[in-house]
């Protein structure tokens, strides 16, 4: 019986996105066997130590633990009373009643209302479907239902267990329905008719069209990307270390051993540590791309310790300090608001760079400029770019505009292109990953 309590609790944890592996479940069982159920604080301490592995998970654990092992002690169910059935009646949630009633019109109405509360008309991408489904569930009182689920578990009677299973099934059924509803909403609001749908779908992943709402998820995506890049490039570094035997060094190192080569020294290619200088136009539509580009670079901190970031529109400023020390999102917002407000002037910004930060650019550095090259017909100072290219290891230009737009209107990209090692169009964060990957590879 005691084990059942624990498995149910782990089930509840898993449903709340705390990842509990089988191994950890066994650990928990052993730990509880050691500690016993009698002392609740001790039990809570034990389980949060064994099962919750981050501050966020610990918070979830504490919430669920209170919910699950709440006021009523778990060993109170008295078999003679029939309050289990009473409980079921009085606490019947509207959500479950709805499902059980099978009244399709009522259900549809409830779904509509929940959808409205969740602001489902805002849905734009298919990836938002689960999010909106979750919001709708919340609007329909899923938390109360979960509370009842816990209550039912706690009864530890067959009826209670049955009731709990019913509630779980009901929740699952409701979740399916809200999902369907959200999916339909996506098709209506987000996608529209076929032609439009295709356009929208393509732009789904276009950075400039991403919503603030997606920022968190994008962030974790970018971090994963950074991790992948870091692993890839640190491995390569190690492999390169096994070079040819360095005879001179080996003999010198082993002179003490009578010249018998015990400590071997290998020839090593002298390899520079990656150094990236990011120069970003933070005006208008480019700003959004810059946000993700810098996010990616700053997530790569371990791999690229030498990272400088400059932002400009009218004038250029060093933004490395702000980004490194403050919360990234807030820092980025501030940069865009403060620096991005002036009218764009590439020539002035390049000359600011020359005056204040020219020494940062050396033969180790890869300079990456992110901008649309629209300089309001000012002098583009191509001479400065050419001078910079000569100093740096490589100069890359990323443009959020497609090639067909380069050089149109006030765009100076074609003139700049002549002095860059490479100029590419970046649209999605995948493009950004590819660029950074290539830059890191060039240091191997």
């Amino acid at each position: 019986m005691a084990e059942q309590v624990l498995t149910d609790f782990i089930r509840a944890l898993r449903s709340a996105d705390v990842r509990v592996s089988t191994g950890e479940a066994i650990d928990a069982a052993n730990a509880v066997k050691l500690m016993g159920y009698a002392d609740r604080t001790r039990l809570s301490d034990t389980l949060r130590c064994v099962l919750a592995k981050s501050p966020a998970e610990k918070a979830t654990h504490d919430r669920l633990f209170d919910l699950y092992f709440s006021r009523k002690a778990p060993e109170t169910p008295s078999p003679e009373t029939d309050d289990s059935s009473e409980d079921g009646d009085e606490g019947g949630s509207d959500m479950l009643d709805l499902i059980e009633s099978g009244d399709e019109t009522q259900i549809a109405m409830a779904l509509e209302q929940a959808g409205e509360e969740a602001g489902i008309a805002e849905i734009r991408f298919s990836t938002q479907v689960p999010y909106f489904a979750q919001q709708m569930m919340k609007a329909m009182g899923v938390e109360r239902l979960e509370g009842q689920m816990m209550d039912a578990f706690r009864e530890k009677t067959d009826e209670g267990d049955e009731r709990a299973q019913e509630l779980i099934d009901g929740r699952a059924e409701m979740f399916q329905r809200t999902r369907d509803h959200a999916q339909r909403a996506f098709e209506t609001f987000g996608a529209g008719a076929t032609e439009q749908f295709r356009d929208e779908f393509l732009s789904d992943k276009r950075i400039t069209q991403l919503d603030r709402r997606d920022l968190d998820r994008m962030r974790s995506l970018v971090e994963k990307m950074a991790k992948r890049l870091a692993v890839k490039h640190s491995r390569r570094r190690r492999k390169k270390n096994r070079g040819q035997l360095d005879v001179r060094k080996t003999l010198r190192a082993n002179a003490g051993y009578d010249g018998v080569p015990f400590d071997l020294a290998w020839k090593q290619k002298k390899r520079d540590r990656p150094k990236i200088i990011a120069i970003c136009d933070v005006s208008g539509s480019v700003a959004q791309v810059v946000r993700f580009f810098l996010m990616l670079l700053y997530s790569l901190h371990d791999t690229v310790p030498d990272l400088r970031a400059f932002a400009f529109s009218g004038r250029l400023e060093d933004v490395g300090d702000i980004l490194e020390t403050e919360d990234f999102t807030a820092a980025m917002d501030r940069i865009i608001n403060q620096i991005g407000m002036r009218s764009t002037d590439y020539g002035q910004s390049l000359s600011d760079l020359k005056v204040d930060h020219w020494q940062a650019i050396d033969r180790r550095a890869t300079v990456i400029i992110l901008g649309d090259g629209r300089s309001n017909y000012g002098d583009p100072r191509v001479d400065l770019l050419s001078e910079m290219t000569a100093r740096a290891k490589r100069t890359l230009w990323l443009s959020p505009e497609p090639e067909s737009m380069w050089g149109s209107g006030d765009s100076e990209l074609l003139r700049y292109q002549a002095y860059c090692d490479k100029m590419v169009h970046v649209m999605t964060i995948k493009d950004l990953e590819r660029v950074v990957d290539e830059v890191l590879a060039s240091y191997n």
Binding site: R19, S21, G23, E24, D27, N30, A31, L34, M35, T41, R42, D45, T46, C49, V50, A52, K53, S54, P55, K58, E223, K227, A230, V231, S234, R235, R238, G256, Y257, D258, V260, F262, D263, D302, T325
Partner: protein
């Protein structure tokens, strides 16, 4: 508890309170959470992963455990590029060479009687095994900890600074308490060491590692515990000053600064204030010693204006307590 406890070289730990008391006896003020984690780690034979901001006593916990249990402490400091050779073992090349030289003269005697090439080869082979035996092995921290026959405390410090490859390599050590040396075989710990890993969250650790560890998050202490800690480290601090300085530091931690003062900095500050014969906090005193607590010029500048209100609040702490004496403490 179970019979396996008897295998331990050090005294078996029987209860959570015993840990709190034991750690207290060597000057480490534990909390319920910390003691529970240690108790579990000891009884379930699991490593503890300790996370939390810098300077809250993560490393010190391991040192105190070792002191209390009177067990050797093996410390492995992680850094970028740490590899097996530095963490596990290396061959003693010099010693191997020396022995070869010495044996050279004996070679004739040894080879005596071996008439064929094959026979001498066999004889030589037996020496090869000799050279790659434990006496030529230079143990590094991990192997040292495995070989302690009476149990030990193994501290793997700042695991987040090591590479992901090293993290993967640690998995074998942490789950089975054994290490494999190809030439010799598997070396298993008779008494599994108590393993503590610390992390400052410079990078996110892998799930596999987290799964194998108990998890303990140590945050900055509350005022009561911080007072106990400072009292334990700086016994000659007066009650009033202690209350005030802890209240001040606690207030400072709530502000928006780059590096919040850690416990060790509170302790340093307490010592500084005593050196300056302070009995109470006052603004001038705080201002002149603030660099003990805050290590960034920008932090000191941004806090400057808040010094007076914070110091006043801290001073009020003792005044109200003084008024309230005779009543049960509200805390």
């Amino acid at each position: 508890m179970s019979a396996s406890d008897n295998k331990n070289g050090y005294e078996p730990i029987t209860s959570i309170d015993a840990i709190t008391d034991g750690l207290g006896s060597v000057g480490y003020i534990s909390t319920r959470e910390i003691s529970t984690a240690v108790y579990l780690a000891h009884n379930l034979r699991k490593p503890i992963l300790i996370e939390g901001p810098a300077g809250v006593g993560k490393t010190d916990l391991a040192a105190s455990m070792a002191r209390w249990l009177d067990a050797p402490l093996t410390r492995l400091q992680c850094y970028e590029g740490l590899d097996e050779g530095k963490a596990l073992y290396e061959w003693k090349y010099g010693k191997q060479l020396l022995y070869t030289q010495l044996l050279k003269e004996k070679l004739g005697e040894v080879m005596e009687g071996a008439s064929t090439l094959e026979a001498s080869f066999d004889k030589l082979t037996s020496f090869e095994d000799l050279f790659f035996s434990e006496s030529f092995l230079e143990p590094r921290p991990l192997l040292t900890a495995m070989k302690q026959s009476t149990g030990s405390v193994l501290l793997i410090d700042e695991i987040d600074k090591s590479d992901e490859e090293f993290e993967a390599f640690l998995l074998e050590v942490l789950s089975d308490y054994q290490v494999t040396v190809p030439e010799i075989g598997t070396i298993r710990a008779d008494v599994p060491p108590l393993v503590l890993l610390t992390s400052n969250n410079i990078r996110e650790l892998g799930d596999a590692l987290k799964r194998r560890c108990l998890h303990l998050h140590i945050d900055f202490p509350d005022a009561t515990r911080e007072r106990e800690i400072v009292r334990a480290r700086v016994p000659n601090v007066s009650d009033d000053l202690l209350k005030q300085l802890v209240a001040f530091v606690q207030g400072l931690r709530e502000m928006d600064i780059r590096k919040r003062p850690s416990i060790s900095e509170t302790v340093d500050w307490a010592r500084t204030l005593i050196l300056m014969h302070a009995n109470e906090l006052d603004e001038a005193m705080v201002r002149s010693t603030l660099n003990v607590l805050l290590k960034h010029e920008s932090d000191i500048a941004s806090v400057d204006r808040e010094i007076l209100p914070l110091a006043r609040k801290a001073a009020a702490e003792t005044n109200t307590e003084r008024l309230a004496t005779g009543y049960p403490a509200a805390e």
